[in-house]
Symmetry: C2
């Protein structure tokens, strides 16, 4: 599919490329990137994700690459390098100036998902005994030299220990006779290098911060993480959770950019596990084959019963997964959640059961179906089974994420399909047990 | 549950309250809030979500409320008021100073989910003919008066039309002989008042912005939206999508804070719809009652077959929902997605089918089950059905979000349970159709 804007050889505008980029295929992307003016292409290059930057660089001729990679700040170069196959990286590192090479080497020592991996190594550091006016002058010079974000300056001692932070606003509103140590804030929210990005995002959200300094265990300053990296983190975490809830491994790449074999692999794994789990329904069913032979009418409601359990379980598990991810609920709340979900399950079951019972009774009365002479008992069996299965599904669905968290696994793995599969087997047992209790002597 | 830190009458620290707040019940919250020192409580109050601020205000005595509500910026007051029952609002508005009352009234005219509802009405506006040094002096004064965010100034003409934007950095690095119009950037990313918050969040992400000006159709400036509101928006949208994917209406409130009747209502609606949909399986099954009577062995694999379709459909629908939400895929890509998912479905089906067939053949050979003398044909029926149902489930699951988007509904409503229910009925038809094709003359 060629980008339709390109049909008439007009150069593409920056906005058009931005809007369509995620949906382009490889050829479209090369064509679109080359079609922009250099300043527009630079703006574009600076804005896209590291994976896309890496992709663009690799699509360019080797001699074209240097000026593009040098547009980037060291932390962005580090992200980009991680998106490039390891064996090709040295060639790209060689394109950088020496200072940046050193910065990048330091950053690459951290995993991309840690605070250390997200941080910028360049920031404005000042000494506590500077006067307010000296500090402003210094910040102004730092801004001109593009040394880092302008809005905060970090106050460090001679050994780089973080003493406090001043914002430009703090300096502006202070009287000129003050020193930095008088106006700096000493209660600074900090992150340590190994803090994972989800925890870091929560920190930004909780304190509504623009930037967070990253420190080592001795409180020596290592760099800063800024807000613009955090929006991306929040989206990435949500995407992972959503994909897991749907019963896939997290793709880690955009849908259309995920190679077909990789996508099938990420889906097939869970699907096979679920399929094997679902094979137990065949074993469960074979235990009830005599009942089915004696009363085929019972088989008509098997899909209805088991799916009611699956659906209510999916609801409960996704609600609890998200509440855990947002910190609304913690491990120690499990008992409160049990009570709440048990009550929900019973109420929901009692709401659904009459619908199912009415369906059976009405169809029988109006001769739309034939549920044997004992249709009232059949209807009762279905009604009670719905209550039992929905209650059990809700309870199991809500507890599974807690169990996974307790085992230090990701609660989002308690996907909707996983819970549905789990509940299917038990749903059959509940249904046929109630059936033999109620129908023995009549149908059975 | 009493917060355990409070057992020994020690005042709670700000950090302790922050960490535990989401999990507290009402009594805990009142106790914790009152236990902090006033400065800590103020920091806390300023940091929490609007719903929590509203809750705190309502828990305070009426005469205590004024100094708390006046801590807030007008846009935050507007958010807070929306979290207060309409009939109580006037009493809270009366606590504000007149300027803020006016600002707030203007803000409340917008829906909370629009750009207009998120915006701050106070920002720094300057004229284009100011000199660079005059502009810096003015910004410094504005910061002292807390007129708005310090980092950008918006350049407006006499009728408030937005001409451009200057950052403090732009002013700092400019030579003093320049005027604002010489250094301002005129290519400004703007939002219009009615832009929904999801689109707005995408704008921030795309351009890595700190603040976006909101303008009316004549490009008159109305206010700004800043980055700190956007992280919350991203999380909120992801939460809504996740809850919908799980088959619930979006709760809009944290799990533990959602009143029980409201939570049951939000879950019962979809559950009842799905239940009614699932009743069609009973109708479908009754058409095949003769086949089941003739060959009960067929009933054993009903849960396996239909859940395979449901699981593969859940995968496909969540992947496509998220790709649509992130803009990785748009409506016009539907045909590429159809081809991709059709291929995925066939491959996944072909991977699963041998597992099911092997299970039947092995159990028969080792006498663990009895699948009649025609067990090879039964196994073939199950295998082909798995391929058919998985392919169909994958295809249906991936198309449903497109269909909903086309109908201007939320694609996330194509929840995992919804797709599973949809596929159950068709899965039964596929299974029994294949069975009668393969088994007529032997078992049937």
């Amino acid at each position: 599919m060629a980008p339709h804007e390109a049909d008439d050889d007009e150069p593409l505008t920056l906005q058009a490329v931005r809007d369509s980029w995620p949906a382009y295929d490889d050829d479209d992307r090369v064509a679109a990137f080359r079609s922009m003016s250099r300043p527009e292409a630079e703006d574009f290059f600076l804005d896209v994700r590291a994976q896309d930057q890496a992709w663009i660089l690799r699509a360019l001729r080797p001699d074209e690459r240097r000026s593009w990679i040098r547009l980037l700040a060291p932390d962005d170069v580090a992200d980009l390098l991680q998106a490039i196959p390891a064996e090709e990286r040295p060639a790209y590192v060689a394109l950088l100036d020496e200072t940046t090479q050193k910065d990048v080497a330091g950053l690459l020592a951290f995993a991309e998902d840690d605070a250390g991996g997200l941080m910028h190594p360049r920031y404005v550091r000042i000494r506590p005994d500077l006067s307010v006016d000296e500090a402003i002058t210094y910040l102004r010079k730092a801004a001109r030299d593009k040394l880092g974000t302008l809005y905060y300056a970090y106050v460090l001692d001679a050994e780089s220990h973080l003493l406090g932070v001043v914002s430009l606003r703090d300096l502006f509103v202070a009287t000129p006779d003050k020193r930095v140590r008088d106006v700096m804030r000493t209660e600074v929210v900090v992150a340590d290098e190994t803090m994972d990005q989800e925890a870091l995002a929560r920190l930004f959200k909780q304190h509504r911060l623009f930037a967070v300094p990253v420190v080592d265990p001795e409180r020596r300053m290592k760099g800063i993480v800024t807000f613009d990296d955090i929006g991306a983190v929040l989206e990435e975490e949500a995407t992972e959770d959503i994909q897991k809830i749907g019963g896939t491994e997290a793709l880690d790449t955009p849908y259309m950019r995920t190679p077909f074999p990789q996508m099938v692999r990420k889906r097939a794994g869970w699907l096979a596990v679920l399929f094997v789990g679902e094979l137990f329904t065949a074993s469960a069913m074979s235990r009830f084959e005599d009942e089915i032979k004696a009363a085929t009418v019972l088989s008509l409601f098997i899909p209805l019963i088991i799916s009611s359990g699956g659906n209510s379980g999916s609801q409960a598990t996704t609600l609890v997964i998200r509440a855990l991810a947002l910190g609304e609920v913690t491990l120690k709340d499990w008992w409160r959640v049990v009570r709440r979900e048990l009550a929900s399950g019973v109420v929901l079951g009692l709401l659904l059961a009459p619908i199912g019972m009415a369906r059976i009774l009405l169809w029988q009365v109006f001769r739309l179906g034939d549920y044997t002479d004992h249709y009232v008992l059949v209807s009762l069996t279905v009604g009670l089974s719905v209550v039992g299965v929905v209650t059990w599904g809700t309870l199991a669905g809500s507890m599974l994420p807690f169990l996974l968290r307790r085992l230090r696994l990701d609660p989002a793995s308690a996907s909707a399909p996983f819970v549905a599969t789990l509940v299917d087997v038990s749903g059959l047992v509940i249904y046929f047990t109630l059936a033999s209790l109620i129908l023995t002597g009549t149908l059975l």
